[in-house]
């Protein structure tokens, strides 16, 4: 957890440096906003597990299709990589492309999901859910809702 917070701080810090350099400012802004959009859907109180809303729950449900390979908590398995790592390496556009069209990895084959409404209808929610997992903002497994 501490490592992840550090990583987050480093990322925020480096984006600040970029900001002051006036290079690609708006692009990075958009990129960072995209990566942290989940923050509007997570509420954490001191001393208890974070809660999420229906929006992010839909992402978790879409993730149930991914669990059989990527693990119940997205940390991967003996035949598919950890998504908590992978989400830090790819942007949203590439994420959507991989989900839609599939991908052949080193030890596994990711199927194309473009014809699966249970995933594609909630692709934004799925992305935000996995980014929240990847940033360590929420633990794996089922989470309580704060909006019901």
């Amino acid at each position: 957890m501490i490592d992840k917070e550090k990583a987050l701080l480093v990322r925020i810090f480096s984006s600040l440096i970029f900001l002051t350099s006036f290079v690609f400012t708006s692009a990075i802004h958009a990129d960072e906003a995209e990566k942290t959009a989940y923050k509007d859907h997570v509420k954490c109180a001191e001393g208890e597990p974070c809660k999420i809303d229906l929006y992010l729950t839909r992402g978790y449900r879409a993730f149930s299709q991914c669990q059989v390979c990527h693990g119940l908590d997205a940390t991967g398995s003996s035949f598919a990589p950890s998504l908590t790592d992978k989400m830090q390496e790819i942007d949203k556009a590439l994420f959507i492309d991989r989900v839609e069209n599939g991908f052949k990895g080193q030890i596994g084959v990711m199927p194309p999901w473009k014809e699966n409404p249970n995933v594609m209808k909630y692709i934004d929610q799925l992305y935000d859910y996995l980014m929240a997992r990847s940033d360590g903002a929420i633990p794996g497994g089922k989470l309580k809702r704060y909006d019901r």
Partner: protein, 600 residues
């Protein structure tokens, strides 16, 4: 091999002349030699018991590795090799290679590697496992992942025939080992998480033509049941027994797949197997008992007609597939010798039935953590479901917490063993519970059709006994329905057991140890760490009069993902994070056969 050919010739002539169709002479003859391991269960009854006793409780501690063999394939290696008269046949996960090994010098006689469409891989729900090949009449029968059932020449590895058993584009795949009875080879189908409709099919061994195919769900004719003659707990099941228990056409995509093991009793001429979960995992959308998912079938091996059925988990709400092995044993039940079928179901109950009539004799929990039902009503055979663990009564979008067992079951496909010497069953088990939340999903052919999210964690979180282990290896008394002894294991025990006349029981662990324990006390006598986690089944055979024990390592399967459960650890109040560390800390991928023997 000459001997072997002669035997086949003699057997076929005999069959021709006398017109007697026996259980399959080549299989029976191969099985009768205790130096062989001729079929997945060691025998048709699926006992996984061997008469060999050179390796025994007093000398097993001296066991050494005799030789090893790498399959060159990663991912989950389930099942185990078949040994016939000095030749070993080793199978692998996708791409489903088969190696024929000359045991004398461990040279490779031949390798078969099918060309399969890699698009099959993503349609396999829980890793690309295969549970082995079958031998009969000089042929090796391989059930490929892409559903092609193939007959190979056992001497050359050349393909004799191939038949398509399903369509991966519709979500059908195969993981099971076929078996051969008389002149037919039997196979099932996987894809319960893709809305595939389950069936048992019998193909003629001579040319691969379909003899019959009997579905798990649907109209009576297509299921090969007779409303008046087919019974459940001794009573006729009546007409339209399946259609009456489904709403609309849901049965067409309603699962009941048949990816487990098949056993056979020559005396009754019945083939026994179980059916899997009804689709989808969301029980709310499929009111009714959803027959005949989650059912033990006893079918006539010639015609496929069902003599009796027994549905263990009517209207499944937890994914407790009924496909686990059926062990046919003659044991005393209530003071009387009975021809029984003993079955350790995913739902956590150990069942003892009369295999001739289908009468239910015993149904007790084989893991004390099991909580979804209080007991099985012995009159109706129905489990008495506890309301707070009913994911249907709690409804869609509600998280039902702390259900035991988890969807993995108190035991999955990894087969148990039975020793007629001790009268005990040796059962590899899971000790895992779950939270389960069903929700609405849409069906698309060839796409996953699941409809529930779940979390899994050690049963100790629910029982509150302070333990954090994920499995047990137990000895079971199928007469009393009692655990005799229980060995806790850090991870689920996902390997098939072996019992021998040497009073030793063998099993493998997910972190890669082959273990031998005393058949009476459960005391550990031997342990050796193999190259990868073990989800394969332990076998034994002799060569030149010396006994060997063999097992495939190669971690994967559903266990390979199941173990990622609960890794966060810190929110579940147990505090013992150590037990949840990824399996990856203990073992890595890799398919290797390890063969053990006593020193000369």
């Amino acid at each position: 091999m000459k001997h072997h050919l002669l035997r086949i010739l003699v057997a076929s002539c005999f069959a021709l002349l006398s017109g007697i169709a026996s259980a399959n002479d080549s299989v029976k003859s191969a099985m009768s030699n205790s130096g062989n391991w001729a079929i997945w269960g060691g025998d048709y009854a699926g006992t996984r018991y061997s008469e060999l006793d050179q390796i025994n409780a007093s000398n097993v501690k001296d066991l050494q590795v005799a030789w090893t063999f790498s399959t060159g394939v990663l991912r989950g290696h389930e099942g185990g090799p078949v040994v016939i008269d000095g030749t070993m046949f080793i199978h692998t996960p996708f791409p489903n290679k088969v190696f024929s090994i000359n045991i004398e010098d461990q040279t490779i006689n031949w390798v078969y590697e099918p060309k399969q469409d890699p698009d099959t891989i993503p349609v396999m729900c829980c890793d690309t496992v295969s549970r082995g090949v079958a031998y009969a009449d000089g042929k090796i029968f391989l059930q490929q992942a892409d559903t092609n059932l193939v007959a190979l020449d056992a001497n050359t590895g050349k393909k004799i025939w191939s038949v398509k058993n399903g369509d991966p584009k519709q979500g059908s795949t195969n993981t099971n080992a076929p078996i051969v009875i008389k002149d037919k080879v039997f196979t099932g189908i996987s894809g319960g998480e893709f809305g595939v409709r389950g069936f048992l099919a019998a193909y003629n061994t001579s040319d691969g033509s379909l003899a019959w195919k009997c579905y798990s769900t649907g109209p009576d004719g297509e299921m090969c049941v007779d409303g008046e003659k087919t019974t459940e707990l001794l009573k006729p099941i009546g007409a339209d027994s399946s259609l009456n228990t489904w709403e609309g056409d849901q049965w067409k995509i309603g699962g009941g797949t048949t990816w487990g093991w098949y056993s056979y009793d020559e005396e009754t001429n019945l083939v026994y197997y179980g059916t899997g979960n009804p689709s989808t995992w969301n029980p709310v959308v499929r009111p009714g008992d959803n027959k005949w998912s989650m059912t033990i079938f006893a079918r006539d091996a010639d015609t496929g007609m069902a003599k009796w059925v027994y549905q263990m988990t009517p209207h499944d709400e937890w994914d407790y597939d009924g496909v686990n092995e059926m062990i046919l044993a003659d044991i005393e039940v209530g003071g009387e010798m009975r021809k029984t079928l003993v079955h350790f179901d995913r739902n956590g109950f150990g069942y003892t039935l009369d295999r001739v009539t289908g009468e239910l004799l015993v149904a007790e929990k084989y893991d004390p953590a099991v909580n979804w039902a209080t007991h099985v009503d012995m009159e109706t055979g129905r489990p008495q479901v506890v309301a707070k663990y009913s994911t249907d009564q709690n409804g869609e979008d509600v998280n039902t917490e702390n259900v035991c067992p988890a969807a993995l079951g108190s035991k999955d496909q990894q087969p148990a063993a039975f020793s007629p010497k001790t009268g005990l069953f040796y059962v590899p088990t899971n000790h895992v519970c779950m939270d389960y939340e069903p929700f609405q999903v849409e069906y698309v052919a060839g796409q996953p059709y699941v409809g529930a999210t779940l979390s899994m964690f050690p049963a100790g979180k629910v029982t509150g006994d302070g333990t954090d282990h994920l499995g047990n290896f137990i000895a079971w008394d199928a007469d009393k329905g009692e655990i005799k002894w229980s060995i806790p294991e850090k991870f689920s025990v996902w390997s098939g057991a072996l019992a021998t006349a040497g009073d030793v029981v063998f099993y493998g662990t997910l972190d890669g140890h082959l273990k031998a324990v005393d058949a009476s006390s459960g005391e550990q006598l031997y342990s050796f760490k193999t190259p990868s986690g073990i989800i394969g089944n332990v076998n034994t055979y002799t060569h030149d009069g010396k006994q060997y024990v063999a097992v495939l390592s190669g971690v994967g399967g559903w266990a390979g993902i199941g173990m990622a459960a609960g890794l966060e650890g810190d929110t579940d109040g147990l505090g013992a994070v150590g037990a949840y560390k990824q399996l990856g800390k203990y073992t890595q991928l890799g398919g290797v056969l390890s063969v053990f023997a006593l020193p000369d």
